[in-house]
Symmetry: none
Subunit: 205 residues, 4 copies
């Protein structure tokens, strides 16, 4: 039971390639099975269906991604905002961790974030954005409380969550090299942080 069957791995491997290449919808189970030297029936022994196979491919990496994200969010949440003074480089550690998890499962992350159309994971970045949203909204509220005459601009909170997630998706899509990725992401995150401070509040009219 706990013995990961060799063929299961083979299937997973070939599925990864196929999903990456064609996307969930256009991926062919037949081809995946054939590439693995098996038949479609075998796929249905190991996985419930096409969706199940897709899920299995991205499962582990997905969990790691969520863990990293949530861990980061919880930590940030614990910060004493009144003491917060934004500086470039603030998010270095978070960036490193994200890139670590993203690039150590590059293919799977590409699949999850860019090739899931038609699957139940379609629009997964939006779910991540939603997650950030809820955290950042609370954060923004505290911020607003400390600045008289201002209130939270909900759309901007959402937008910054969007941009932040997108920063990583964009990076993943455009820079395959992990080290270069790390170098590229820094100014991006810095610019987001600065923008956040300046534009997440609006006049309380």
């Amino acid at each position: 039971m706990s013995e990961n069957n060799e063929n299961r791995e083979k299937l997973l491997e070939c599925a990864k390639k196929e999903f990456l290449e064609k996307g969930f919808m256009k991926a062919s189970l037949r081809k995946i099975a054939a590439d693995a030297g098996l038949t479609t029936g075998a796929v249905y022994f190991f996985f419930k269906d096409k969706s199940g196979l897709f899920g299995a491919v991205i499962d582990e990496p997905l969990k790691q991604l969520m863990d990293t994200l949530e861990h980061h969010l919880n930590e940030e949440n614990g910060e004493d905002f009144s003491a917060y003074e934004p500086r470039d480089g603030d998010h270095d550690k978070m960036a490193e961790q994200m890139i670590e998890v993203l690039y150590s499962h590059y293919d799977e992350m590409m699949i999850l974030l860019n090739k899931a159309q038609g699957s139940e994971y379609e629009g997964y970045p939006d779910r991540l954005i939603g997650l950030l949203d809820s955290y950042y909204y609370v954060f923004a509220q505290k911020y607003a409380d400390s600045v008289p005459g201002k209130r939270v601009n909900g759309y901007m909170v959402h937008w910054f969550s969007h941009v932040q997630i997108n920063a990583f998706v964009h990076l993943l899509t455009h820079e395959r090299d992990k080290d270069k990725a790390l170098k590229n992401i820094k100014p991006v995150l810095d610019s987001i942080v600065r923008g956040w401070l300046g534009y997440v509040l609006e006049d309380d009219s």
Copy 2:
């Protein structure tokens, strides 16, 4: 004679709904034709094939979008950069025009930008980004020339192009109301402009 349009329009209308709902790939010609009270054959009288139908749905709006974008880009390009002093609200007119064209063909734009997977228009936002890219890179070069010890950070140029296009796609996706859209987009663009100035250059090492 001139009323032959009736069924063609019906087809176009039903296609719009179907593409919007299911995306290009999963959209069914059968269903489109049936919804219009016609047979699939009729589709092939009016349009070359599925792609042709898709193209016909988005053709006009697409042209308007490109015109607006290019017009805006050319104008910006003519600016004397040395005299440029960024201020919030700088892009108000451009924003208004973009939102005008985007929201006066809301469904079509959603289809073009979010539902084209599998069609020849797949990844259209990326093409727009590429367009901005080339303009902004030149712009950034001029900027770099005026600031000693700095050079253009290519990745950031691309990133800001990406964010700018995304600002509108995001807006379209999350805010159906045109007036609210206009209100929402402004701080977004402002934040982008500020970010641009601050982060598009890097140390010339």
Copy 3:
């Protein structure tokens, strides 16, 4: 009524090209009409249907072919066989006439003889062969009567009819030039005549 409409001719001309190129079955009425600058409906004004159009294309040439063939057959039939002494060149006049009619409507003849599959004229060469058959069988009978201990070999009569028709079909297919065709056909016919004399009878056992 007797005014051959211009468009009818255009249709006929384009149909000829299309049939020649694709054969009856794969020929597209739409393309024919479009090539003629008309619509499919027009085809149905001038002709009953696809078959009717095909028939109209080959009608005249077909009649000429049949006339020539029958005329030749009747003449040959009238010969006093007892006085017959085969010599090379015997069929020169007939060959000339056949090639005349075949090559003065080259395209139509190609269509009739090689591109009619799927139409009511499919296997037209076989009908011509049948025609020759019936004439030659009578001829062979008379011949057999003049040679004691011999009788007609029906299969060989049929075979020689087949070869004779085939000689022209083959020629048409392999030699576009009329003069060269005439030169080529002569030894072919000579060899057939010789073969006829020698092999059309079998021992009367």
Copy 4:
């Protein structure tokens, strides 16, 4: 396990009937599958596509035909021409072998030679003719060398190749009984051999 063949055979059998009756082009996969008590999908399990099915029907017989033909040609090629003295009956063994292979797969041969229009085997007889052509041309050259003042008439070589192949196609088409076929083919081949000697050369002017 080895009995999977059952339905495959049924499919092949029904395909044979359909191809024979309608020809490749007009044959319906739907009908073939239905006749076999299966769905069209089943066809695509066993065969790549319509062409693949057609190929499978004629594959074996085709190979046998080619083997026989090539074997015969190679043997003939080895003959010492200077010692050659044509006699009726010379080709008896070859005729027997050809008829054997032709009639032991009668339907398949009919399909290959008469019903392949639209498939990749369209015009197969012409390919056989081409094969003979190349052999006989060499043969004719040697012959010409031994007769002063004569040269090869290329058209006649081609014509006799054509007639020879046609002799068998014609036979197949007109005589279903194998024994009668054998009887019929002999004088045909004899007449061809005689014709060959007499007409394959022309005056060297």
